[in-house]
């Protein structure tokens, strides 16, 4: 039996403005590879991950994927960030190599072609759940939406607005802010005069705390909801009491809900002395090598050649994967995955689970 490693690629932003997530996610994937190999690899063969930097820039992403496909000859690779995922999709489809999007959530990703699959629920899943929870469970009538003016902000805000309206609520303010701005007073005052009863913020970890801080200082007392960007202990630390009542979502179970996750978090604390940036995303990345290992195992067992085409077939055939830190993954025929959405509310300075929306 050959000991030749089974290779797959990972193209993530390791530098640039998105590196704060990309680097931690890459590290999680690295750990998973180590763990799998420590347990004997896949059918006795070690797994090998080739990691490349994209800076979340589509052009560099294409370079990286070209290299993965043509030099490293991997049949499957993971990548993230919507613009990169979209940019490299034509390359994947043409070369018939399986592209797994892990973390990008633009709803368009489902329609990028035969070889593009996602392991991460698209934005409509969690943001919809947020809107639904606000409208149906909390019985909010008037929502205000604040969003950062970039692709994920725009798309996310639209989903929230449309869902909230569908459910009979009113969106009384819908304001964008520039990615570079640090003063949100104008937008917040508009929200204040619109008299909303819940404010949904579709921002990034770097600006979200500032938005909320300024909002509280301006005397806006409404409940705040956001998506997984807010599910970060840093946010609580920087906001203190101002974070109370904030509702955040996560698409992966927390340490309390899953013992593997608890171990995972411990590992971060032990090796890095901190919690990872964007914990749920790193969970997905940690699980990616396990998914790839399952695909390889399937092909090796059935004796099929290890090509991208067969990888894709394997993904569709296996369909259901049981992954360590994110639980069951079911790949749909529509290239989407459905996952439960875990909602938390900040109570006494801690994220407290309030609901799980299936």
């Amino acid at each position: 039996q050959s000991k030749e490693p089974l290779r797959f690629g990972l193209a993530m932003p390791l530098t640039g403005s998105q590196a704060l997530f990309g680097a931690d996610q890459a590290k999680a994937a690295q750990w998973a590879v180590q763990d799998i190999n420590a347990k004997g690899g896949v059918e006795g063969r070690p797994l090998e991950m080739i990691l490349l930097d994209t800076q979340a820039d589509p052009r560099l992403g294409i370079n990286a994927v070209n290299r993965l496909i043509n030099v490293e000859k991997v049949p499957v690779y993971g990548t993230a960030w919507s613009s990169v995922v979209k940019a490299v999709a034509p390359v994947s489809n043409r070369s018939k190599v399986l592209e797994l999007s892990v973390g990008a959530n633009s709803p368009e990703i489902a329609k990028l072609g035969d070889y593009v699959y996602t392991t991460y629920p698209l934005a409509d899943v969690d943001i919809r759940a947020q809107a639904k929870y606000a409208r149906e469970t909390l019985k909010k009538e008037r929502a205000a939406v604040l969003y950062i003016h970039n692709d994920s902000g725009v798309e996310g805000a639209e989903i929230y607005r449309d869902t909230f309206k569908e459910l009979g609520g009113k969106v009384v303010a819908y304001e964008a802010y520039d990615a570079q701005s640090t003063d949100f007073t104008g937008a917040l005052l508009k929200v204040r005069s619109a008299n909303a009863d819940i404010v949904h913020i579709q921002g990034l970890v770097s600006d979200l705390p500032q938005v909320i801080a300024q909002m509280r200082q301006l005397g806006l007392k409404q409940q705040v909801s956001t998506y997984s960007a807010g599910y970060n202990p840093k946010v609580l630390e920087q906001l203190g009491a101002a974070a109370e009542g904030m509702i955040v979502s996560a698409l992966a179970p927390s340490a309390e809900q899953n013992e593997q996750v608890a171990k995972f978090v411990e590992r971060w604390k032990a090796t890095e002395g901190r919690i990872p940036n964007g914990l749920p995303y790193t969970q997905y990345l940690y699980d990616l090598p396990y998914l790839v290992a399952d695909l390889y195992r399937h092909l090796l067992k059935t004796g099929q050649p290890l090509t991208g085409e067969n990888m894709r077939k394997a993904l569709v055939e296996i369909r259901k994967f049981d992954l360590p830190t994110t639980g069951l993954l079911e790949v749909g025929a529509d290239h989407r995955v459905q996952k439960p959405v875990y909602l938390y509310e900040v109570k006494n300075g801690a994220f407290t689970p309030i609901a799980t929306v299936k």
Partner: protein, 306 residues
Amino acid sequence: MIDPQIVLQILWTGLATSTYAVLFAAAFALVLKVVKVWNFAQAGMMGIAFYAMYFAVHKLGLPGYASIAIGLACTIAAAMALEIYGLQTFRRRNSPSLTFFIFTMIVSEFVQYVLSMIFGTEPVSLATSLISPAHIVGGIMITERDLIAIAATLVLMAGLYVLLMRTNQGKYMLAAADNPQLSRLYGINIKRVYALTFVVASILICGGMYLFGTRAALVPTTPMEMMIFSVIAALLGGMGNVFGAAIAAIVLTLLRSFSILVIPSAWQSVVLYALLFITILFFPKGVSFKRRPRPAPATPTQPAKA
């Protein structure tokens, strides 16, 4: 339906937010005016200033003023290294001005990579909490941080004014800005003047970074993004007119803050840039806060060569 209270609130917070932009724009304009360099390495200096202070506050547990001192020392050291090992070399070789431009830009990128290697890429802030005690004055929310920021900026800018207008060193800077080669014949040590300029710029930058770092969290790439704004302000203020740049920074910040009242928020930036474009087209003189008209091109001096 525009409520005066809203206007006043936006005005006040806008002014407070513009403080660090003012300092960065002034620093950029000062170096542009005196040293004649588009100092894109300013982003690098901003990064160094911030992370040095961050290290002092969070890792060494030093109080505010001590960490500012450390930040200042690091920034000045970096600026001196840039001037002595970088710019002086290019100057000696008569490199074209765009070489300086590219060099400084690459230096910023370099610093950014080094910082992200040392400090990682998660957003960090100088303050542990982003919330600052606030007072309501006549319906307007005024935070203590806003007050400190505005006061500190006023002090720094006044100091800069005194330096430039009232001291010999300031006169040397003006002379060097006008004609460095000739200045030497009046006993002015150009290298010293340039060094001093960088020191002053470092002080402005460090002050600005402290103000910014206590109200926001940043990552190693943030300074680069922020610098573009200072560059625009420095240009609008009249190509290297220090106080013009400061005023332009305020105007631009306020414009950005106020535009949300009249324009759909998604179109804000477009309107801001369109305004920039149009202002220059129709009021080319209006945007430059120059003290006096430029001399007519009738009698130029011969290009001085070293």
